[in-house]
Subunit: 103 residues, 2 copies
């Protein structure tokens, strides 16, 4: 099965403003929380979200382009996971702090 990684910034290209903007939206935060609970990655459609598929795709793309998550294809599926190692290296504590917020 072909596995292809969708375009994303390298660790050195990640900007904190973009990460914060990406995280500062309720649905995107919900996606990040779901991914945090599933380190092995999750198929995009499997995250329960109160939005249309196109809005979902938009949010996933925003998170990917900011460097918050990585997405690869497995056949026709798109599997996303948090770039926890990159974010923890760049901004130690940020993700943990965000995830500790009351929902």
């Amino acid at each position: 099965m072909t596995r292809k990684q969708l375009p994303q910034p390298d660790r050195a290209e990640i900007r904190v403003e973009a990460v914060l903007q990406a995280l500062g939206e309720p649905v995107r935060l919900q996606i990040v929380r779901a991914l945090a609970d599933t380190p092995e990655g999750i198929a995009c459609g499997e995250i329960e979200l109160p939005v249309t598929p196109s809005t979902r795709a938009h949010h996933l793309r925003t998170l990917r382009e900011a460097g918050v998550l990585t997405t690869h294809t497995e056949g026709t599926r798109r599997i996303s996971s948090l770039r926890r190692e990159d974010l923890d290296a760049l901004y130690p504590g940020l993700l943990t702090g965000v995830l500790s917020a009351d929902q």
Copy 2:
């Protein structure tokens, strides 16, 4: 000298999305960095920023309304400081992570 605190959310009213949105803007992040270096607070006009006074006021207000900073008047001066204790209590690590980002 009369000292008055400008309106701000109580700790329990602070929302992580609003905090992230407030922090996710270059000029506002510059303000937060300046305040982090000055725990005793700083007069708004004394932070060097590449923006007009009205834009500066807008950014300070956004940060205050999100719960990131607190502002009080001292006579005609407005002194702002980070709500570090509140933010560290709500989102342990978040502020430290943000401040550790390369500028």
